[in-house]
C-alpha cells in the first residue's frame, strides 16, 4: 500500500498569528462600547485578525463550495431518501432552486457546485464543476469506502479549488455538501475520532423513522468495528479512506488549502465538520482557521464541535447541509469584521470612559 503524501497539503500550515490576536484585542478595547460588550463578535474579529494579519483590511469576498457525492452504504437502507436524490439535488442547485441558492444569493456569497462522486453521468453542464473521482463510495460495511488513490484525488480536488479560490481573491470560504447517506459516514467518523458510541454519534439524518434509525446505528457500529482495529490505529487519512466519502475528503482538502492560504474557513453542519476534524487530524494548526457556522440538530455534530473545541456561531436547529448553516453565519462574521474596522474610538468620539 503506497504511502500517501499528505505533506503536500499540510506542510505550510502555520498557526494563526498570536501577535495579531493581541493587537486586535487592544484595538477592540478602544472602540465606543463597554469592554467586551460585543461578546462573540469580538472573538470572531480577533480570530479573523489572527488569520488574515496584514490582509485584514481586504474586503471580505465570500464563496461557498458544495461538494456532491454518493455513498455505497445507502444499500443498507440508512437514509429516508433514495440515492438518486443526490443527482436530483445537484440539478436543483444548478437551477437555483435549493436553500443554498437562496441564501448564497441573499448574502452575496459566490456558490460553486462540485461533482466529486455522484453516481450518474451529468454530461456537459456549464455551471457544474466536474471532478468525479468515482460514482460514489463503496459500502463501508463490506470494505473500505475508498482506495488510497481515490482519497488522494478527492483531497487534491478540494485543495486545488481552495487555492484557486484564494488566488481569485476570496477571503472567506464555506464548505457544504450533498450526498444521500453521508450522515452515516460522518457518524462513523465521529465514533472513530471521538470514541463516542454509535448511538450517541448517530442522528436521524434527513428524517428516518425509529426502525430505520436503529438499523443505521447498527450499520455505523459494525462499520467502525470492522475498520478501526488496533492494528490500523486511528490515523485520520485511514479513517477517511475506510469510513468517509469523496465529498468529505474534498472538503478536508479545501480546509487544508484555506488554512495554508490564511483564509477563514466556515464549517457548515455535521458532515463538513467531520471533514474539518479529519483535516485538523492531518494538520492540527488548521483548527485556527475554522469557524463553526452553526450547531445542527444531528447529535454527532455537537460531539465533533466539542472535539474540535469550536463554539458555533448559530444554533437554529437546522439539519439541511448544502452549506446553508455556514452561509447563514456569514453576515455575523462580516458584522464582526465591519465593527472592528468601522467603529469610532472613545478618543475620536470624545466619549467618557468607565468610572466604576
Amino acid at each position: 500500500m503506497s504511502q500517501v503524501r499528505i505533506e503536500e497539503f499540510t506542510w505550510n500550515i502555520e498557526p494563526a498569528s498570536e501577535e495579531w490576536r493581541r493587537r486586535a484585542r487592544l484595538h477592540l478595547d478602544t472602540l465606543t462600547k463597554p469592554l467586551g460588550s460585543l461578546g462573540r463578535l469580538e472573538d470572531i474579529a480577533v480570530q479573523v485578525a489572527a488569520i488574515r494579519g496584514e490582509k485584514l483590511n481586504d474586503k471580505p469576498n465570500k464563496a461557498v463550495f458544495v461538494f456532491a457525492a454518493d455513498h455505497g452504504v445507502t444499500e443498507e437502507g440508512v437514509s429516508a431518501y433514495p440515492s438518486e436524490v443526490t443527482r436530483q439535488m445537484v440539478l436543483n442547485f444548478l437551477a437555483e432552486g435549493a436553500a443554498i441558492n437562496v441564501l448564497a444569493r441573499l448574502h452575496s456569497v459566490a456558490l460553486h457546485v462540485v461533482d466529486v462522486g455522484v453516481n450518474t453521468e451529468f454530461g456537459p453542464l456549464p455551471s457544474l464543476l466536474s471532478y468525479k473521482v468515482r460514482g460514489g463510495t463503496r459500502n463501508m460495511l463490506r470494505e473500505a469506502a475508498m482506495s488510497h488513490e481515490e482519497v488522494e484525488k478527492a483531497l487534491a480536488i478540494g485543495f486545488t479549488l481552495g487555492c484557486d479560490a484564494a488566488d481569485a481573491g476570496n477571503t472567506i470560504l464555506a464548505i457544504g455538501e450533498m450526498g444521500i447517506g453521508n450522515t452515516t459516514a460522518a457518524s462513523a467518523l465521529t465514533c472513530a475520532l471521538t470514541g463516542a458510541s454509535a448511538h450517541l454519534a448517530t442522528g436521524r439524518g434527513t428524517g428516518i423513522e425509529p426502525v430505520a434509525y436503529a438499523n443505521k446505528v447498527r450499520v455505523v457500529e459494525a462499520a467502525v468495528a470492522k475498520h478501526c482495529s488496533p492494528s490500523n490505529g486511528l490515523r485520520p487519512f485511514e479513517l477517511l479512506r475506510c469510513l468517509g466519502g469523496l465529498e468529505i475528503a474534498a472538503m478536508a482538502g479545501m480546509v487544508l488549502a484555506g488554512a495554508s492560504r490564511r483564509l477563514v474557513v466556515v464549517l457548515d453542519g455535521f458532515i463538513s465538520t467531520a471533514a474539518g476534524a479529519i483535516a485538523v487530524g492531518m494538520a492540527p494548526n488548521a483548527r485556527d482557521y475554522l469557524i463553526a457556522g452553526h450547531c445542527s440538530e444531528e447529535s454527532g455534530h455537537k460531539l465533533l464541535l466539542e472535539y474540535l473545541n469550536l463554539l458555533p456561531v448559530l444554533s437554529l436547529g437546522m439539519r439541511l447541509g448544502e452549506g446553508t448553516g455556514a452561509v447563514l453565519a456569514m453576515p455575523v462574521i462580516e458584522s464582526a469584521i465591519a465593527l472592528y474596522h468601522q467603529m469610532a474610538t472613545f478618543a475620536s468620539a470624545g466619549i467618557s470612559g468607565a468610572t466604576a
Copy 2:
C-alpha cells in the same frame, strides 16, 4: 390622577393569523428539503406569514429606532459610566461611529435616533428626531420615575413613529436604546413583572465591579419594594411609570404600533425586551408580533424572554444595546422569508420524496 387612555394604542391589536400560520407550514413542507430541516428558520417564516398575511410578498423594508433617555437613578451610582455618556453616544450615533451605525449600514437597515429624554439641550441637529419629554426620569428610589402624562407622551411618541414607519413602507422594525442607568430600570421592571429576586434580575450592565454591583442590586430591590405594594397592584402602565424610563415607554409604544399595523417587531436586549413585556402586558396579542433578536449576557434578559415565551434568534454573549442584537438578527429573519418565497418545490424540481 387621570386615567390614561392606553386603549388608543391597544384597541386594534389582533392576534396574528392562524390561517396564514397553517398555510405557511403546508407551503414549507413542499420545498426541496427534508421536512423541518430548516429548524428555527421555518418557525420564523411561519410567524412572519402569520403577521403579514397577504402582504407576505412585500419586500422586507427594515428600520431600527434607537431611543435615548437619561435616568435619575444614576445618582445612586448604579452605572460604570457617567450619565453624560448618553449625550455623547447620541452624538456618536449621529456621527455614524457607533456599533449600531456599522451594523445598520452593513445590513441595509434604516437607522433613526430619537431623543425622548436626554438630559441636555442638543440644539438643532438635522438627523436627530427630537421628542424630548423631559431631561431624564426622576430617581425611582425616591419617587415614581415619571408622571402619568410623561408616560403617555413617551408612549405616544413611540406609537406615532411606529405608525409613520408603517406608512413609509417598513415591514420589519427593530427597537433599540441608549440610556446610562437603564439596565437598573429594566431589572426593576423584571422583578415586578416576573417576581424574580433583584439578585437574579440584575446584571453587570456596562460592566460594574462587585461592590457597585451589590449596590445596584440593593437599589433595584428597594425601588421595587417602594413602588410595588399590593395596593397599586402590578398594572403594566403603573410599573412603567414608577420603575421605567422614557425610552422604555417609547419602545413599548412602538411595539404597540408595530402590532396594530401588523409589522414584525424585533426586540434587542434586556431593556427593549422589558419594553416588549410592558407592551404585552397592555395588549397580550402584541406578543404574536415580537421576535427576540438575541439573548444578551444580562441575566434578567433570559428571565424576560422566558416570561414572554420567546426563543432568541441569536445567542452571542452581546450586552451592548443600541439595537445591535436586533439588527444582527435581521439577516436571519430575511433569510427565512427569502427561503419561503424562493425555494423550489419537490414537484417543480422533480425530486423524489422520502421513502422511509
